[in-house]
């Protein structure tokens, strides 16, 4: 107990003495206070939230984000939409091809949600007005449950019939891979997404394309 009181007295006496002596303050105490001040400020920063344009490209961590989903989807559509597979199909069948977006396999070293890319691609396909897009396997299951429900609970004129689903002509599949080159605080990540469009009836690969994104990340 006595030791504690003595320690406190010495400490506060010393700090009081330091504050009285300007030379001491400048030479020894100020740098320490400055460091502690910076330390305190760094741990007390306040959070700010600002709404930004969803189309704006943003990069904070350097990891794959919504901007990349969008770039890849638009690049893939640009590359594939006016190629022979579609024009020949239209010439033979006299209608727009029906496409289903299948699995985009993630072989990168990042936890990327493939659903987001699938949705971007579906949206970009529909917006071209040149192809029709049908629901994915998971979505179909939900829709069939709803249709089944309608058979019991909906009135006859609004009830939807079985066997009217539009079958897809082509399936789009993709594989994402990445290569990371890193040293010290610098990292370069090169992503490559390989797409294939496959004729569902014949298994023929009617179109193949590649989209690339390269990022330099400095810490």
């Amino acid at each position: 107990m006595t030791k504690k009181i003595y320690t406190k007295t010495v400490l506060w006496n010393g700090i009081w003495q330091m504050s009285r002596n300007t030379t001491t303050m400048k030479k020894h105490v100020l740098p320490i206070l400055l460091f502690l001040g910076v330390f305190a400020i760094s741990s007390c920063s306040q959070r700010q939230v600002t709404r930004i344009n969803p189309d704006e490209q943003t990069d904070l961590s350097g990891r794959w984000n919504d901007s990349d989903d969008k770039i890849v989807a638009e690049d893939m559509i640009d590359q594939s939409i006016d190629k022979n597979w579609r024009t020949e199909f239209e010439a033979i069948k006299g209608r727009k091809p029906v496409v289903i977006v299948g699995r985009i396999k993630n072989s990168t070293s990042e936890f990327i949600d493939p659903i987001a890319i699938v949705k971007q691609i579906e949206g970009a396909y529909i917006n071209t007005g040149k192809v029709r897009v049908v629901a994915t396997a998971d979505e179909r299951k939900e829709i069939r449950d709803e249709r089944e429900d309608q058979q019991i609970f909906a009135n006859e004129e609004s009830r939807k019939k079985w066997g009217k689903e539009k079958g897809a002509d082509f399936m789009l599949m993709g594989v994402m891979s990445s290569k990371t080159d890193q040293y010290g605080k610098e990292k370069i990540v090169a992503y490559q997404i390989d797409f294939e469009l496959i004729d569902i009836e014949t298994n023929e690969k009617v179109w193949m394309g590649q989209s690339k994104i390269k990022k330099q990340i400095k810490n």
Partner: protein, 460 residues
């Protein structure tokens, strides 16, 4: 002072967590971490919070929660930038005020838990992503110690178990070429660093797995070399696909860091601006540059003769059980040691002990020089600074304390569906049977694990 106060609070909670773990009460330890979550997340021990809670959630079978915690820690590490205010403050106080960045082996082994989580959740795609991330961390580790590793008694700069695990994940996805590359790395490391410096022999199961892949992937030269080096003859009738179930046994608790102190004598006359810190007990001698002002005759620093420096040192908690086996459908499968976490932790700290001493002495010299200069001008203020310096001189004793002492594994072939097994662990003159259940899928592989927490040594 504020920083120290918050550190002691964390230390207090760690004591509560450890006490619960020693009693085998994982739920209680988990509940302690569930109090004041925001405070844990915000402070400089956030990484330890994610790792400890992630480990306990895994032990409690909460794999989704565990994987979310480990994923947060993964991003946290990836985004961690050097906080210059932290570094500057640590120069005047101690390393405890810095953001905890994890030991090298900790940054690898949290990914072991994450791979187990993903496999147990049936998310093989994410298990593969984690395996690739583990490869990147292994590359970072290797790059960090480039140039030092070829010396005799090479430091811990690569991890055989991490490569073994990566290989198993690739095998589970039937990517056998990638699995073989990972196994080749594991083989090299088990044959060198692990057997010579860490006392861990190559597991027999692993020997069979690497020979099987060498044979079936068409690498006869490699197979011949393995047979020769291991003194084994490979049975060429072994099926191409290995056992579909891998069981990991986490045994005991990892070592904890304690503070030790060493007394140093300071010798002047080593050239302008330099003093020599010596310790006769261990034969240490470190020159430290403190600035020319402080080594002139009559300067304040000349008054110092002895100084006490503090360092972290591991205390081994070990494991009560020395070995174990799996009992399934009337058959016995031995659990083989694959990773001795305690040995690695000790080696890592020993490898950088001289660097720790150098860093601590440089900090002490800076503190002492300012203290004595101030004492000359104002004795009371000098005494106060001396007290502050003394109070703030502490070793950084933080570590991921819920990790196991050792990791063993066994690989077996089981029929698909829910399977019952018993993990039999042997202690001194006693054995313990732990009933377990694993789910084996129709295709691919099943990963499972269990942690026996009982430590082996009297606790500090």
């Amino acid at each position: 002072m504020f920083a120290l106060a918050s550190c002691s609070q964390i230390a207090l909670k760690q004591g509560e967590i450890n006490a619960s773990l020693y009693q085998g009460d994982v739920q209680k330890a988990y509940d302690v971490l569930n109090q004041d979550i925001d405070r844990w997340k915000k402070n400089r021990n956030a990484l330890l919070y994610y790792w400890n809670k992630g480990t306990m959630a895994w032990m409690l079978g909460k794999h989704q929660e565990s994987s979310e915690l480990f994923m947060t820690s993964d991003y946290f590490l990836e985004d961690m930038y050097r906080n210059y205010a932290n570094v500057a403050a640590s120069l005047f106080t101690n390393d405890k005020v810095r953001q905890y960045r994890g030991e090298d082996h900790e940054r690898l082994l949290f990914q072991y838990y994450q791979i187990l989580n993903f496999m147990q959740l049936g998310n093989q795609e994410y298990a593969l992503v984690q395996a690739r991330r583990l490869q990147l961390e292994l590359q970072r580790l290797d790059d960090r110690y480039k140039g030092e590793k070829d010396e005799p008694g090479a430091r811990y700069h690569e991890d055989a178990f991490a490569y073994l695990l990566i290989g198993l994940v690739y095998e589970s996805a039937n990517e056998l070429d990638n699995a073989y590359i990972a196994y080749k790395n594991a083989y090299r490391i088990y044959s060198n660093l692990y057997s010579s410096s860490l006392g861990t022999d190559m597991p027999e199961q692993f020997k069979q797995d690497i020979m099987r892949l060498a044979y079936h992937l068409g690498h006869p030269d490699d197979l011949e070399r393995y047979e020769k080096e291991l003194g084994l003859v490979y049975d060429k009738t072994t099926p191409r696909i290995g056992g579909n179930t891998v069981f990991f046994w986490n045994n005991g608790l990892s070592p904890v860091k304690e503070e030790i102190s060493l007394d140093f004598t300071i010798i002047r006359g080593q050239g302008a601006g330099w003093v020599l810190f010596t310790n006769n007990q261990f034969g240490f001698s470190f020159p430290v540059f403190i600035g020319e002002d402080h080594t002139q005759d009559g300067s304040a620093f000349s008054n110092i003769e002895f100084v006490r420096a503090t360092f972290p040192k591991y205390f081994t908690r070990g494991a009560f059980f020395s070995h174990g086996e799996l009992l399934v459908n009337g058959q016995t499968y031995p659990m083989e040691l694959a990773e001795d976490v305690s040995q690695i932790a000790h080696k890592e700290l020993d490898d950088r002990f001289l660097k720790e001493i150098g860093k601590t002495l440089a900090r002490l010299a800076l503190k002492k020089a300012s203290e004595y200069q101030l004492r000359k001008e104002n004795p009371e203020a000098g005494a106060a600074l001396g007290l502050i310096n003394m109070i703030t001189e502490q070793a950084d004793t933080r570590s991921w304390e819920s990790m196991p002492h050792q990791i063993s594994y066994s690989r077996l072939n089981l029929p698909s569906g829910k399977q019952s097994m018993v993990l039999r662990a042997y202690g001194p003159a006693v054995s313990h049977d732990q009933p377990l259940q694993v789910y084996v899928p129709n295709e691919g592989m099943s990963f499972a694990g269990f942690h026996t927490l009982q430590p082996g040594n009297p606790l500090p």
